[in-house]
Symmetry: C2
Subunit: 354 residues, 2 copies
Amino acid sequence: MIDTIKMKDGVITIIDQTRLPGKMVMKKIRTIQDMAHAIRQLEVRGAPAIGVAAAFALGRLAKTVRARNKDDFIGQFSSAARELNASRPTAVNLFWATGRMEKALKRNAALDLDKIRELLYKEALDIYDEDYEMSRRMGETGNKLIRKGDVILTHCNAGGLATSGLGTALAVMYAAKKSGKDITVYADETRPLLQGARLTTLELTRAGIRTFLISDNMAAFAIHTKKISKIIVGADRIARNGDTANKIGTLNLGILAQYYGIPLYVTAPSSTFDLSMASGASIPVEERPGTELKFFNGRRIAPEEVGTYNPAFDITSGELIAGFITERGLISKPFKKNIPRILKEHSKNGKLAR
Amino acid sequence: MIDTIKMKDGVITIIDQTRLPGKMVMKKIRTIQDMAHAIRQLEVRGAPAIGVAAAFALGRLAKTVRARNKDDFIGQFSSAARELNASRPTAVNLFWATGRMEKALKRNAALDLDKIRELLYKEALDIYDEDYEMSRRMGETGNKLIRKGDVILTHCNAGGLATSGLGTALAVMYAAKKSGKDITVYADETRPLLQGARLTTLELTRAGIRTFLISDNMAAFAIHTKKISKIIVGADRIARNGDTANKIGTLNLGILAQYYGIPLYVTAPSSTFDLSMASGASIPVEERPGTELKFFNGRRIAPEEVGTYNPAFDITSGELIAGFITERGLISKPFKKNIPRILKEHSKNGKLAR
């Protein structure tokens, strides 16, 4: 397993994923600004990992920040949560994690400041542990859907590098491999930032899974010629009706899945569902700088004067999705009914039911 | 206009398109080997331009090659045609052009060798002139389909850099612009070799057309959010039933067009149709080296041990195509009936009807 993010004795370390696959650079995160920067620059990325990252940043702050008194502490904590929330807009796990840390603060506000510090630090570690455990459970749930010989297409990186554990979509593949099923994976390179080429193929080949890299525009022809039987991806935010924000290109795959009559499964922990959104139309989609499209490793690949459109995510209609692989089992259609039902069974403070 | 390829006094010059948009490098082509290499390396590319390139290489050979006698000349000419034919397998314009040059040789085989040399050189220049004229006519045909305010998606480069003239798909946009229609174009970057980013946006912005660059996986979301009203692409080979080989990613766009209920038009001269192919299933699809996916400008972007699948083209079912914009007008459905009918009206020796 890869230590995508960890916190020990108040010290947070992340893998700088922008340097992969060339270099494995561990980076220490000291301040809220450091973490917001790391999230914004995609040094740490993947919806669940972003959630853990934000929780860790707040946990470390709680443990170490100097405060004149409790009010001062609460003020600094809230302002830190706001700063983290502003780093990226789409993945809801970020807001879920800062929200949960804030709730923990509220719940314990009557205690001594030292006790509060300790409880918040522990809450952050709990979020990590639960994320890890959810990953394992998603793998189990998803593995029930996998048949021997399946040829699976995946997009972006929904692996160990996107969570504290083994990932979301890739957790399913690791579980399938572990249980002795022979599977083949096609990985979209995932432009513009190539998380598929750089991260997913790195993870899968290390795990000994037969993996082929394709460019995103090859997906349709690969489904046709390579008999791809399933598409499995992660998610950044899922609305009540199943509409799903995920890495740009996922909508494309949903339409292909429908055309070819193969299922598209979305793998995500319950922290990725946002019941406040009735549909995907209300999910904010981050647009990133055009330089990501016009330059590659500092080298210009398009003329200066051309415009760009660079949404980092798209919204796939729930109608195009066969089911959601979660730590609470598979959520099938109708999503409007089943998503709220299954999530409400979730314990109220957002902790993982055990 | 860009002088993608030209031949004057027996001297062939091409733009080395692998250096664009950074550098405009003109390259002299002296031998058949030079030209086969330039085609294989995509220094000259685009189905119609490849046809002209092969014709020029044979025209120059006819003009300049030392031969002991006519038989020796014919032997060298045929062997050169075979060598060119082996450079790339998918674009039929290559075989069409070498075939037409060989027919011209056969037709005139009874003449003096000097006369044959002269006629073959002229035949190559005719192919260029006709390609140029076809480009203009495709623009005219296509422009009838364009409405003011159209938002058009295109893929790869089907522009002046892909023909002797103004292109195929882009010829339509140039004609629309010239006739005063306000259009907007979204250009797929077209991985792995980025012809869309490097070449298409260069052409379109120079022509003053409002152009936005996207990565290939953004096409679906861009159709949805940017109200794209038409998709227009070129082609490398079209079977009798309308199945079309074109740059990898075109099939993807055909499926999106059907899903969103917008038309996909394929723009191509009659030399791109291959009536010997009953369907796309028989069209050979070139697979290129995996290094195109694993490296970018010499820098590794994927781990060494991962497999790759790198088809340079895909086959879009005729069912997904709204019509073919040709120099002989628009070919509509049913293609099985209309493609052979319209092409048979074409003059028998393959020359452009005037």
